[in-house]
Each structure stands twice: as C-alpha cells, then as structure tokens.
C-alpha cells in the first residue's frame, strides 16, 4: 500500500465509530423554532440586521460580519423573527442570537451567483463569495474561512491540505461526507487550490476509514486532479490537529507562536471544502451541517444533516437518548468537546457531534503524580505536562512559561493517559489564563 504518514506523540483511544460509520447521512427535518447565535466563529460577533417581526427566508442574511476576522450569519429556516436577544450557547455562556419561528414554507434566498464559470473567476471574487456565505472552519475551530484563504503576500502558500482525519473517537460526520459527497468535495478542493494558488494538494484521511480512502483514491485518478494526492494517515489522536497534519504530510513544523501559513501551508476541513463548493457553485450560504449523534446511552445513533440553530434536545430525542441513564452531553468529540449544561442550546456551525455518556470520568485526581512520563510520550507538542501542572499548582507562572505552556494545544492527550487521573490539560488552561491576566496587568501598568 502507499506510504503512511504520521507524527511523533499522540494516543490511541478506542475509535468507537462502528456504531455510526456505516450510517448514511439522514436529513433532520427543520424544527419549529431555531435559535441562531451571532457568534459561531472566532473573531468579532456578527451584528444583527433583522429585528422582531421581520420575515426571513432560508439563507437570508440575519447578521452581518463584525469586521474582517468575522463571519456573516444566515437564517436556516424561513419564517418570522421572534426575538433578538441573549440565548444559551453551547460554549457555555449566553450569546446574542436570533430566534426564528419556522413557517415550513422552505423559501430560499441564495447568494448572488458568479456570472462566470468558477475556473475563470478571479481569486478575489471567489474569496468574496466564501465570505458572503459565512463559511467558517467546520472541523470545530470555526475560524472564518475567507481569512484563511487570504494570507498576506509575504507568506506564499505552496501546499493545501484537506483534513479528512477526523481523529476524535465517535465522530463520523466527515467520514460520511467523504463517502457520500465525494465529487462535490473534490470540486471544493480544486476551488480552494485555485484560490490559494497552491502547487500541491494533499487529502489526509486516517487509515481507519479504508472505504473513504479507496473511494477518494479512485476518483483522484482522473487527470483533473493531477496535483491532488491522497495521504494515508496513521490512525492516532490528534492527527487531525492542523500542526500535526502539516508535520505528518509535509514534514514541516509550524513555528511556535506562528500559523500554518508560516510553514507555507493552509489546512481546510472536508466539510469546509464541501461548503465552499456549495457556495461557489450553488450560491448556498452556510446554514446546515452534518452532526454525529452517538454514545453509550443513545439507542438509535445517526449522522444527521441539521439546520443551524436546531436545539440539541430535539436531536437527542430523535435518536432516542435514554435521559435517565445520561450523565453528560458533549458537543464535539470526547477529547476536546464541551460538556453541555442547557439542552436548549442550538447546533452551531462547528457542532460536529453530540455525544451522550452514562459514566463520568474522575474530575479530581486520584493519585499523586508518579513521574511515569506517559504524558511526555503522548504530547504532540513534546511538552512536559506533569511539570507544567506542578508549576501551576504552585502558581509559578514564569516557570510554566519557560517550559512553554503557551504552546499547548489543549488536545487532552496527556490527561487521557495519566494513570493518576490528574486533569493536566485543565491545569494548563488555568495557567494560560493566569499568564494572560498577568500579561494584561503588566501592559496596563
């Protein structure tokens, strides 16, 4: 078989994907009401352009971007705006959002189309459409895609990497997308490649998805995709992290404190590539996405195509979650996902999965650190997490900074392997918070 790419470090949690890997994406019917937050991306929140009583269509702009590093927000249903105000947000806090009542008319309003084939469009025109469609990183990072596609001219990009790793256990949304919308994905890849002017393009897929690898490889044999190669990745967490993906596929390292463009690369999730294709070819803004609903207390797990703004409770009920046995609901994957407190929180652009758990892992350490070094072996950034945690415990922020705490990507690999069940990544998050507070206090003096 072809060459296998991987990186140093990482862990091998059980994949737990068998439940949903073979389930085709089902369209989840639009709910009676949606709550669409105006902040579903990194950057400035969108500003509302509708108010109570306004009639909106699917795909209509309801929030304009709050700056360059921001993204517009569109309605995912047609109907009437019920209110604009604070609503529960899956990230835990309350965020201004738009509540819309669905009139079930399914009226659509699309973006103004490109008046020429995309191959003849200028780079700027394509980026503008991506921006107008409100596309953000669908892998979970939710960084505004048009910003990623506009690196400054002193950072030339020669490699585009499409992220089909989906390294988190349980999640299969990207896997199904690669199987069911393969041609659209590859069209999206070509569009992204054109926008960036990248000479080479890799599609990285973990080897625990052999059917996707086979299918994509087959389609890539067409001469249309002569500069696009499939990179078979070792199935390891966090292979899907940008830095690890770049290192595995190209051997380069993103410099500490830098961005992928500093290594001449841009990474885009497969879902983002499909969304870009839909926007450019179909004028469709981002208002729905695939979500994997699974976990030990789900009787009927599914991969669902869900409208943005759907309360997560509806998805859980549709998949017959045993609520009495459920102790935790997580948005995202089990390694970096966020535990949900409010089931009325909506699905947002970065919701790749909803996991429901019956058992909860220890929150407090059970044993002292025995210096076993498993965390050092697991860390994909090659830090010494046990040492960082000890520094934070003593509140020696300076020493923690010296041992590179700020380079931590908070993937959780260290915490997964720790036999003492110390929540190392939590200490690091706390330490970073203190470091930033200290820095802010110093600049304010």
């Amino acid at each position: 078989m072809s060459r296998r790419f991987t990186f140093k470090g990482g862990i091998h949690p059980p994949h737990s994907k068998a439940q949903t890997a073979r389930l085709s994406i089902e369209v989840f019917p639009a709910p009676g009401k949606v709550i669409i937050p105006l902040q579903q991306h990194i950057g400035a929140p969108a500003k509302p352009v509708v108010k109570r009583g306004d009639r909106v269509s699917i795909g209509q702009l309801i929030g304009e971007a709050g700056g360059f590093v921001s993204a517009p927000v569109h309605s995912s249903v047609s109907g009437t705006v019920l209110s604009v105000g604070p609503f529960p947000h899956p990230m835990g806090k309350q965020v201004i959002g738009v509540e819309i009542e669905n009139d079930s008319a399914e009226e659509k309003q699309l973006l103004s189309p490109l008046n020429k084939p995309w191959r003849e469009a200028a780079q700027g025109e394509l980026i503008q459409m991506v921006q107008a469609a409100g596309i953000v990183g669908m892998g979970g990072a939710s960084f505004p895609t048009h910003v990623k596609l506009s690196p400054p001219s002193n950072k030339p990009i020669d490699v585009l990497i499409i992220n089909g790793a989906e390294c988190e256990p349980y999640l299969t949304a990207d896997h199904r997308l690669m199987l069911e919308r393969t041609e659209d994905l590859l069209t999206g890849v070509l569009i992204l490649k054109k926008i960036l002017g990248a000479k080479k393009c890799f599609i990285g897929i973990e080897e625990n998805k052999p059917d996707a690898i086979k299918l994509v490889n087959k389609l890539l044999s067409d001469s249309l995709y002569k500069d696009v190669t499939l990179a078979r990745l070792g199935a390891k967490y966090p292979q899907g992290g940008e830095k690890q993906l770049i290192n595995a596929v190209t051997g380069r390292q993103v410099p500490s404190g830098g961005l992928p463009m500093d290594a001449g690369c841009v990474v885009q999730n497969v879902g983002t590539a499909v969304a870009v294709r839909d926007a450019i070819l179909g004028g469709i803004p981002l208002y729905e996405r695939v979500v994997t609903v699974t976990g030990p207390t789900v009787k009927n797990p599914k991969n669902l195509l869900v409208r943005i703004g759907t309360p997560i409770r509806l998805l859980l009920e549709a998949c017959e979650v045993d609520f009495k046995a459920t102790q935790k609901v997580i948005m995202g994957g089990p390694m970096m996902g966020i535990a949900q407190s409010d089931l009325d929180a909506p699905v947002i652009k970065s919701t790749s999965g909803l996991l429901v758990y019956d058992k909860v892992q220890p929150a407090i350490r059970e044993y002292p650190c025995i210096n076993c070094g498993r965390c050092v072996a697991a860390c994909p950034i090659h830090l010494v997490p046990s040492r960082l945690a000890k520094f934070i415990e003593k509140e020696s922020i300076d020493e923690a900074m010296e041992w590179n705490i700020m380079d931590c990507m908070e993937c959780g690999s260290c915490t997964y392997v720790c036999p003492s069940k110390i929540n190392l990544v939590h200490y690091v998050k706390l330490g970073k918070f203190h470091a930033q507070a200290k820095r802010a206090a110093a600049t304010n003096k």
Partner: protein, 359 residues
C-alpha cells in the same frame, strides 16, 4: 427549599422548545477530555509486583523458605509503616496503591537471605518512613526508598549485611558460582582474583551459566539474571519500563569492563567473559531493570534518561573497579537520583515548532 439545593435539574425554569415532558436528570459539566485510558497507578504497581515474582520464585528455589519469609517481613512492615503514618498524619489512605508492597519486595531483594528478620523490619520501616513518607509519600521522594533502606542497613549493620550463604535451597551451589570457591560472592571473589592474578586461569563458562540462572550467593532477588529478565519482558510488554535506562546502564558497564578488562587485549575469551561476568552479577540486572527505572526517581525527560543511565553505569564501574565495595549498583543509583532535577532541567524535549521554520 431542600429540593433546590439537592437536585439541580438542568434548565430550571426555561420554556421547553419541543413541548415534550422534561425528564429530571443531572448533567455533569467537568472539562475535557471526557474519556480516560483505563490504566491506573495501582494497575501499574500490581504489574511490577507480578514482574518481580519470577525472581521471588528463583529465590525460593535457591535460598529456600527463609527468602520468602524475609520478603514477607519486609512487605508487611512497609505496608504497616505507610498505613500508620498516613493515619497519624491524617492523610488519605495510600496503601491501596501497592507502592509500599514494591518497596518491601525490592528491599528484601537487596539483602542477604540470612539477614536477621528484625534488621529487615527496621530497614523496611526506614525505607517507607524516612525515604518516602517524610518527603510527602508517593511521588514526592527524591531517592529510591528501597535503596535508601539498603544503604541505611549497610551503615548500621555492615557485618550482617555482608554475611552470605551459598544456594542451599532445592538447588544447591557454591557461593561464588565457581566450583569449589565457597568463601565469597561472585564479585568479591572476582576482586581478589584480579588482585592476586588468578583471574586469567579461571573457568568462566560454568560460572557465567550459574550467574545467569542464579546458582550463586548474593542478595535474595539479585542472583537470577534469567528470572529478572522474564520480569523485565513483562514490564516492557506493559510499557512500564522503557529500553533506554536498562540498556544504556547495562551497556555502559559492559563496555567499560570490556575496555578495561585488565587482560591487556580485547578479543580473548577472558576479555569477553569478564564484562559478561560483571553485568550478570552484583545485582546489576535487578538495579537496571527494577530500580534505576523507578518512575518517581528517574528523569521524566527522554534525553534525561540517557544521561541518568550513563551516570549510573559509569559510577557502578568506578565503584566496582576502584572502590572498596565489590559492587556499586545501589550507590550509583542513589547518587544519580540526586542529580535527576538537574538532569531534567537541561534535557527538556525540543518542542514542536521551536526555531525550525519553513522547509
């Protein structure tokens, strides 16, 4: 009022989106990651105990039931000491993590099978009470507790600690591993043979086999190289020890004794037999596989382990060749334990993205 404080149901008073009757249930909000590898500290410790069992069985075969008795004394007093101290200081009970059991076994493995039982008990109390608990318990000790106990006993009862017996268990043999040489343990015998020049005439073949199997005099757990190797394989399989420390430690001792074998050349049979003899005796296998690899007292950094093992190897060579003691494993490891914080500071792994730029 009472219900409000006891059960925090999610979504207190908010209106339902779907109109379905809301089930009362609690949602845990602890932070990511939400899954953990099942292995815990007691799991690791238990595997170490299992890995020490081949050597324990070997000690029974060669030294008889007294070896087992002494091991039991050592383990009991270790566990008891830890239990009493945690109770007296009001700290949470820690004996369940099995680390005291390991210290007990390792300390017993480091003493002669004819040591008086009360000395064994004292050594055990010192190992746990002083070398471990006084510094904060598991994870806070800076030297290997079993080796600290051994050093304590050597200082207090040097005569008893250097009184040996030849294997008189089910398998019988000579003290030194050499036929007819009954006066000293292998390394002590070796030292005198070097001094009086008879080293070149020795028949190493049988002695090496005796050393490998364990048919020699010495400490309870240190004599059978093969039993210790089996234990090491178990620990490698479970990823509890790595390859760096044992191989570099043993390799360094071998290399130094080969280069400085005293016969004047490097390729004669004696020239190879001498370093082999050295690594198979004096508890080097026990030290390299089970004590230098002790997680708490060895460097956590991969590069640090290399320097640590090198230091142990060089010190063991120096003590054995030039020092007054015939063997130097326990002191080498104890001395290198002291350098661990320094070694760790200077061997931090180079992080992803440091300095290296594009291409």
């Amino acid at each position: 009022m009472i219900n409000q404080t006891i059960t925090k149901t999610e979504n207190g008073e908010k209106k339902l989106a779907s109109g379905v009757e809301k089930a009362k249930f609690q949602l845990n909000l602890s932070s990511s990651p939400h899954i953990r590898h099942p292995e815990t500290v007691p799991d690791i410790m238990r595997w170490v105990v299992i890995a020490l069992c081949p050597a324990l069985i070997a000690s029974l075969l060669f030294f008889g039931w007294r070896a087992i008795f002494l091991t039991c004394v050592s383990v009991s007093f270790a566990v008891l000491t830890e239990f009493i101290i945690t109770r007296l200081t009001g700290k949470p009970k820690s004996v369940g993590d099995f680390s005291a059991v390991i210290t007990g076994i390792l300390l017993a493995f480091n003493v002669s099978p004819i040591l008086p039982w009360w000395m064994m008990a004292l050594g055990s109390i010192f190992s746990i009470g002083v070398a471990k608990m006084a510094f904060g318990g598991l994870g806070s000790n800076f030297i290997n507790p079993a080796l600290a106990g051994r050093a304590f006993l050597m200082a207090c009862y040097p005569a008893a600690m250097t009184s040996w017996s030849a294997p008189q268990g089910i398998i019988k043999g000579t003290l030194s591993g050499f036929d007819g040489m009954t006066s000293a343990t292998p390394l002590a015998f070796f030292k005198t043979a070097v001094r009086d020049g008879s080293i070149a005439n020795l028949n190493f073949q049988d002695a090496l086999m005796n050393l490998f199997v364990g048919n020699v005099g010495g400490c309870i757990g240190e004599t059978s190289a093969i039993a210790l190797l089996i234990g090491a394989i178990i620990l490698w399989h479970k990823k509890i020890i790595g390859f760096r420390i044992p191989f570099i430690y043993i390799g360094t001792v071998f290399l130094l004794f080969w280069l400085f074998n005293g016969t004047g050349n490097l390729l004669s049979q004696t020239a190879i037999a001498i370093p082999l003899f050295q690594i198979l005796s004096g508890g080097l296998f026990l030290g390299a596989f089970f004590m230098a690899t002790d997680m708490v007292t060895s460097p956590i950094t991969p590069g640090g382990k290399v320097y640590f093992a090198l230091g142990c190897g060089i010190l063991t060579f120096i003590i054995r060749k030039f020092g007054g003691y015939p063997e130097g494993v326990s002191y080498s490891i104890l001395i290198m334990n002291l350098f661990v914080p320094l070694i760790e500071r200077y061997t931090r792994p180079s992080i992803y993205g440091k300095v290296r730029k594009r291409g």
